[in-house]
Structures are given as C-alpha cells and as structure tokens.
C-alpha cells in the first residue's frame, strides 16, 4: 500500500532542467491510457518530439537571435544554431520603438524575425529589443516611473513612460496609480522598460477584484474564445513555442511559488499592500479547465486564420486579472485565454507591437 506521505510535493516548472522530458512525455502517456494514440494530432506531435522536450517544438516562421550585421538586403543573426544569414524581402518592415527601415537596426540588438513562408530564408518582419510589462502597478514616481508586479512567477519590473508616450498611454490607461493594472509594450533598456505603446485598454476595476466569471453548467465550453497575448521569455528559452496557461492545476503546479526577487533595490514593504496574488483572486472572467505544464492545446489566431498545437509551458495566472478584450480583428470575447511566448505569438501570425489577437483555443480532443 502506498501512503499519501509517499507523494512528493509536485512542482511543475519548465525551466527546471530535469523536467522538460517529463513534461513532453505526458501527452504520450495520456494518449496511451485514454486510447487517443491514433486519433489526435496532439499526440502525434507529442510522440514526434518525445525526447526533445515540450519546450523545443520546431518553429517554422520564427527565428530569434542577436544581430551581427545588417544591410538593406540581408541580416546576419547569431542564433542557437550559430551564425545565420537571412535575405530581406523588398517589403520587409522592422520595429525598434516604432517602424524603422531594417538597415536602421543596430548590431547587438536582440530580435525576433518572421519568415515570409514556412521554413523559407526570406524574412518580412523584424522586431528589435521589444519588451512588454503586464501586471499590477505597486509604486509610482514622477515623472511617470512605475514599479509593476508581474505576479509571483515573474517578479517586478520598472517601467518608465517618456513625455512623448505619456499621452498615448494615458488614453488607454488613465489610472497609472498603485493598485491598477497596466499592460504596455516598449523598448527593453538596461534594467527597465521604456513604455511606448498601450497593449490593451485598462480594466476599470482594481487588480485584486476582477469580475467573477459566469457559472458553467455541464462541461466547460470547448473550444474557448478570448484574447491571446504574449510575454517576454524571462527564464524560458527565447525560442520556446509555448504558452503560459491561466488555469494550471493548483494541486500539482508551482502556482504559489515564492515571489521572485525584485528587479530593483529599495524597501518594498511600502508597496506590498498593492501587490496582488493572482491565484487568490478567483478564476477571472473566463472559466478554463485545469491543465498542467506539458498539456497540449490547439490555439487558433482568428485574425490570421492560423492554428498550431502549443504546449503549456508555464503558469499564466496574471492573465486572470485582465478581463479585457482584443480588437485586432473585430471584438474578441472578454478575458485572456493564453499568454504566449514571443516565438509562439509570432509563429501564430501575431504582430508583437499590436499586443494581442483574437483567439480560439481547443483544449480537449
């Protein structure tokens, strides 16, 4: 007889170097025990990558790396495969704080690039040094400098809003005060984010009190619709194809991991009253079934009509706080259903500077 004391405290964390193979195997084992092996492309993908890890599914549109050299016709990147050269399409566009000619990018810039066709060398979009901060404002200084809590898993970030961006951001985020939510895109700088673009519109409520989702009778609707957003890699690999899922099983995941060490110095006791634990605020305004790291979902970008099977790679509980809509193509249903890695967001046809796309997620099989 096995006793409960034999059960270790399970802790799902894809950044744990010993874990990726375990997570990748989960889909295979699930398919075997539920008899799904032959009927779902979910399990086919899992089987095909059994030893590669859930974090390393192939990217067919997206490449990440650092610029070694750039000219009007070619860009040379240092990627995980070494030095690679990519021809630029005549219509190629680049973003570095705003639209710029590709040749204006700088050596050493960290970039995410999108191929024009799957696997083809020619690229048509480049995003350089793009970053994003999503969370609860816990401190504000003048001129607008914000300390933002991104949740227990990601810690805290500093956001500076320059005079040229203040008006644009405050139109969508009128309450840049402690206790309210913020979601901004900008340029990554040394130790902070220079905010330039509002990623969405600010929800009217305080971060700790998102609206309650309507009750569900029967089974949870599948597929689920809502908003898909993206997040910076943090400790994840840059080229990770995955998503942070808002409803990881609280019994077997690291949902209540200790808050990460702050990215800034100073006494934080004064700001703790505004920090919100997203796990303590309920399910948010979308009711999603509990999943685990390694679970596979099929996510569809309704704006680009592109879909992929994407593994759950981390906890996205902060997304529960945002009961907002995406208006990239029509108005999405309320609530965030997926917080994608940058690579996955681009892979699904999203534009990083836009911040979101209307999404449909199929969870079951």
């Amino acid at each position: 007889m096995r006793h409960l004391a034999d059960i270790p405290r399970w802790c799902d964390d894809v950044t744990d170097s010993a874990s990726p193979a375990r997570f990748a195997r989960r889909s295979l084992l699930k398919a075997a025990v539920l008899g799904l092996r032959d009927e779902s492309d979910f399990s086919v993908i899992a089987a095909g990558n059994g030893d590669a890890g859930a974090a390393e599914r192939p990217l067919i549109y997206t490449v990440t790396g650092r610029i070694l050299d750039v000219s009007p016709h070619i860009v040379v990147l240092l990627t995980e495969h070494g030095e690679q050269r990519f021809p630029l399409a005549a219509s190629a566009e680049a973003w570095r704080g705003g639209p710029v000619p590709p040749a204006a990018l700088r050596q050493g810039d960290h970039v995410v690039i999108r191929r024009r066709l799957p696997g083809a060398p020619v690229i048509d979009r480049i995003w350089a040094e793009i970053g994003r901060v999503t969370g609860t404002i816990i401190e504000r200084d003048e001129p607008p400098g914000l300390l933002v809590d991104e949740g227990p898993a990601k810690g805290r970030r500093i956001v500076l809003i320059g005079p040229q961006a203040t008006g644009r951001i405050q139109v969508r985020f009128p309450r840049l005060e402690p206790g309210y939510l913020i979601d901004v895109i900008g340029l990554k700088q040394d130790g902070y984010l220079q905010a330039l673009i509002p990623a969405t519109s600010q929800p009217p409520y305080r971060a700790g009190h998102p609206p309650v989702a309507p009750m569900v009778s029967g089974h949870v609707p599948d597929p689920a619709s809502g908003t898909a957003v993206w997040h910076e890699p943090g400790e994840e690999p840059e080229n990770l194809l995955g998503l942070a899922y808002p409803a990881l099983d609280p019994e077997t995941s690291c949902e209540r991991a200790a808050a990460a060490t702050s990215a800034c110095s100073g006494d934080l006791h004064a700001v703790e009253e505004y920090a919100v634990d997203p796990h303590a605020t309920g399910s948010g305004c979308v009711r999603l079934p509990y999943l685990s790291v390694g679970s596979l979902v099929r996510l569809r970008n309704d704006c680009a009509e592109r879909a992929r099977v994407v593994p759950v790679t981390s906890c996205g509980a902060t997304a529960r706080l945002f009961c907002d809509r995406c208006v990239t193509c029509g108005t999405s249903r309320k609530g965030r259903i997926a917080d994608l890695t940058m690579a996955a967001f681009v892979e699904l046809g999203g534009a990083l500077e836009v911040g979101c796309f209307n999404a449909t997620m199929m969870i079951g099989s």
Binding site: R2, I7, R26, L34, Y205, V220, P289, Y290, L291, S365
Partner: protein, 285 residues
Amino acid sequence: MLTAIREVQIPLLAAMLLGACAAKIWRALRAPADTGRTDPAGLFPAHLQRPIMILVFAAELGLGLGLIGTALKFGGTRPALPATIARTGTALFFLIAVAVLNETRQRRPASGCGCFGELSGTPIGLRTIARPGLLCASAVATLGLPPLRMPSSSAEAELWLAVLAFELALLAFLSPELGEIMVRLGYSEPCELRRVPVGRTMTALQASSPWRKYAGQISAAPPSDVWREGCWRFVVYPGRERGRQVDIIFAVYLQSRRPVVRAAVLDADTDEVLGPAGTRESAVI
C-alpha cells in the same frame, strides 16, 4: 380591498430595503477594498464610490428600520410625522433609484444594478428599472395610512395574503436576482473546474481494480509523475514487467463517486504500449 393593499406595502418595502442592506454587507465583507465597481457607483469618481455606497447602505437601513419602527407606534387614526417622513423618504429613494438606473443603463450598459450586491450583476434592463418604480408607487400608496393593525377577520387575513402573494410574484418577475439565486442553489461545478486534492485521487486509485491488477509490478513507492488535464488526473509509477523497465500509468476521472480508473503499461525505453490501453468512449477532459 384598497386599504389591505396599502397596509401590505409597509412590511414589503421594509423587507426589500433591509434585504438589500444585508446583501451589500455580504459583498463588502467578501471584497472590502472593491473600488472598481461595475454598478451605478461606478458612474462616480473612484474616491467617491465607497462613500456613495456607504450612503446608499445607510439610507436603506435607516428607511427600512424607520418604516418598521413607525408602522405601529405613532399616530391614532392618522399617521404621525415620523411615519410620514419615513414613507416619503422611501418614495423619494426609489424615485432617485429609477433615475440612476436609467442613467447607468445608458452610460454603462454592461453594468449591473448592484441593488442586492453580487447577485445583481445582470446588465440593467427595463425590468430592473421597473422594480424601483413599482416600489416607489408602493411607498406613495402608504402615505396617509394610519398605524398598522392585525386583520380583524379571517377573510381580511386571506385578502392580505393574496395581495402579498401577488405583489411578491410581481417583484420576482421584475428581479433578475431570483434567477441567479436559483442557479446558485442548484449549481454543481463542472469536474474540469473542481479543485480536487491529490490525496483524494490516490485514495480513489488505490481502491480500484486496475490498481490491484498492476500494484505488484510497481517498483518504487512514490509516483514518478502526477498531473491533471481537465477531468482526468494521471499518475505514473515506474515498474518492471518480464525484466523490462516500464511506466505504469493510471488515469483517474475526477468525480466523487465511483470514479472511472484506466491503466496502461508502456515500455519505458521504446514507448511501446504493453498493457491495456483505454478506449475512446470516456476520453473527455
């Protein structure tokens, strides 16, 4: 008949006002710092929302207690001044409520009325606005009413009850909260959303026949992996079968009574399925 209708209004109005107070207290206790409101208080600047809700609460409490306190004690054949003040105040309160709800409906169509706390999250409709209108008319009907008395005959008592039943039915028709209450009373969370401790899953697993069948092959006490997907929790143990390293995987359906348990055995090196795999009939997550 007309007197019976008028006399029923006072306890009814008092019950509505005090019920609204109780619901607001319940909401305040559950979310004490809630200033991002999605009810009519949201029309006001953030720093005024809490004082306004306290004012509304105090008005409801004062008027509800005032209606009860002045219903019997004051006046002879005509009502005394305190009773008239309480009843006039109630009529004014509901008249203002009609105007505020109408304004909220136009400016924030997604907002609920907040009248009964979190039960009143349904967007404001014409029915929601008609309810305070009806209550305002009820309060007006009580003006000039002498102190309440017990019914003098069984026929009069039946008339009271009939009027009360009709008016309650009318209020129920105008109250979206009633549907919300009925849903909550009969609600059972879907298994995908139900939080289930791992210990309960293990207990269910160890009481199942698949466990008894494969327990002898398990080579280590703690499971090598446990995870959940929707209504299923999966538990994996390392094991040995005919000298081969295997993974024995159990899938436990997360329901409280007689959960379905399935099992499969995979070669740990080749992933070949060696033991019985499930069929697709219960593969719902």
